[in-house]
Amino acid sequence: MEAPAIRIHSLVKDFRIGLRGWKLRAVDDVSLDIHDNEVYGLLGPNGCGKSTTMKVVLGLLEPTVGGCEIYGVPSSQVKSRLNVGFLPEAPYFYRYLTGRELLKFYAKVCSVEPGKIKPRVTEVLEMVGLTEAADRRVGTYSKGMLQRIGIAQAIVHDPKLIILDEPTAGVDPIGSAAIADLIRALKAQGKTILLCSHLLAQVEGVCDRVAIMDRGKVVLEGKVDDLLSKHDQQSLLVDTFPEAARADVEAALAKHGAKLTGVTTPRISLDDLFLKHTGKGGPKQS
């Protein structure tokens, strides 16, 4: 059986703070399996341990107890990161480089073959929608463009696993929608994506499974559809619903032992409304 993309087992991470060495437990006995070609959301409020968990996965922090493997390789080994791309929270890049130069730098760091660097950089720039800004200095990029060039540097070496820390934080709805589309496109290419966010509505549409963390512990985990659907209730969508029809429906339902609990007008989200009226997209299908 193939190893999962990420396996975290009984992970505990303590930080020592102050001269007396008080321990702050940032991650408390977390175990997760993230499968190949899955978009997995690690959600929770600020300070709940999401970023610490990610850093342990990336080998940037050493676990106090437990461990983590990427495609079966312990994350403490550098070779575990051969197939990993990472976008940190609020990324800042070398301002004096152009977008193209920046991607070339990261491609070289990742030991991409010299002959493949140029076409790959062009391909990735196109994928993240930065072709026109490719030869502009990164210092002139907007927040949304910085996030996109950040994703580009994470995927420039064509990794199987992409880890995104707060990819939509501080980005406007248009930028968030573009990043969400990019995540879907990466999944379609067969990539596995772990994303970490406290902006729950923004990740809802892209995640297959989520784990919600609070105070270092995973308090809920499962498929998004399973967690969000009310399986004991159904809804009907009708164009017009006169009072007489409502009475008939209630009578029909009563005959089957069911009950109409409410009639509401469907709403689109404020994000969708914004996108529709700024000409950047229509309402998403739910």
């Binding site: 550098v78 051969l82 940190p88 070289k108 760091v109 030991s111």
Partner: protein, 279 residues
């Protein structure tokens, strides 16, 4: 192995480009050039040495002073900017060893110091050659038909200064690898530099210490801190005809080797301290 070298060179090149784009480096270069060139106009002050010696002392002093500032501040700044701006995260999250990252940072600053030292030594050489030529035209008989300044010696001395600044860069990298602030790294590195400059006093007193424990402690400390006085051979290398003692052919190589050993030791210590640092 090829991949490792490639990654270190890539990080080093980027660090170098980052450094030369900083206003601090450009300001320091302009200040150093101005100081070396201005030595020509200070010749009316008589410090008891010949004019050429004065120009050489002034120029070498400028290289040492500004080179030391550059070695400490640039190393600390370029290291912390990577940590504070989280660019280190994007690099270390890739298949890059921490020691490769540190070696790349060191290489970038070492290259910067090479450019700085070569530029300053070049300007100093031009100043000396120009002045020496005009003095030879005017007082040719006092020169006995040969030049007083050894320009090959100047080039050799510039390489030794570069290695000395490299040791200072490696010390700063070591301090930065465990300290939490840029300021702390800069201050501690300058203190260490002063200790290294004055270390010969401890070496001299070592001979006269009777207590074996104290003698051992002083001996250990003298090994821990490199002796920067060893690199002060500018007069002998630039003016071999005036020097009372001559350097043997192997001495500059020995001094260079001494610098290289300390560079490896301090970069090694930096790698050790940085390997488990939480970033």
């Amino acid at each position: 192995m090829n991949g490792i070298c490639h990654r270190i060179l890539t990080i080093g090149r980027n660090t170098f480009l980052d450094a030369v784009r900083q206003k601090f480096f450009n300001a320091l270069v302009i200040l150093s050039v101005a100081l070396i060139v201005s030595s020509r106009f200070f010749r009316q002050f008589d410090f008891g040495s010949g004019e050429l010696k004065f120009i050489a002392d002034f120029g070498l002093g400028a290289i040492l002073l500004f080179g030391s500032i550059l070695a400490v501040v640039a190393t600390a700044q370029l290291f912390y900017s990577e940590i504070e701006n989280r660019t280190a995260l994007t690099i270390l999250a890739k298949p890059v060893h921490r020691w490769e990252f540190l070696a790349g940072k060191f290489l970038g600053v070492f290259l910067l110091l090479a450019v700085f030292t070569a530029l300053m030594a070049g300007i100093l050489g031009i100043m000396l050659y120009w002045r020496e030529s005009s003095l030879m035209d005017r007082y040719g008989d006092q020169f006995g038909g040969q030049r007083l300044v050894s320009y090959a010696g100047l080039a050799g001395f510039a390489v030794l200064q570069w290695l000395k600044l490299g040791v200072l860069c490696a010390i700063t990298l070591f301090v930065s690898s465990f300290s939490n602030t840029n300021l702390y790294s800069v201050v501690v590195s300058f203190f260490v530099m002063i200790i290294c400059q004055l270390q010969y006093i401890a070496r001299d007193s070592w001979e006269s210490i009777g207590n074996p424990a104290l003698k051992g402690l002083v001996w250990g400390l003298s090994l821990l801190f490199p002796n920067f006085q060893m690199f002060n051979v500018g007069d002998v290398m630039l003016f071999p005809h005036d020097a009372t003692e001559q350097l043997s052919a192997g001495t500059p190589w020995m001094i260079g080797g001494y610098g290289v050993v300390y560079i490896f030791v301090f970069v090694g210590l930096a790698v050790f301290a940085f390997r488990r640092r939480e970033i």
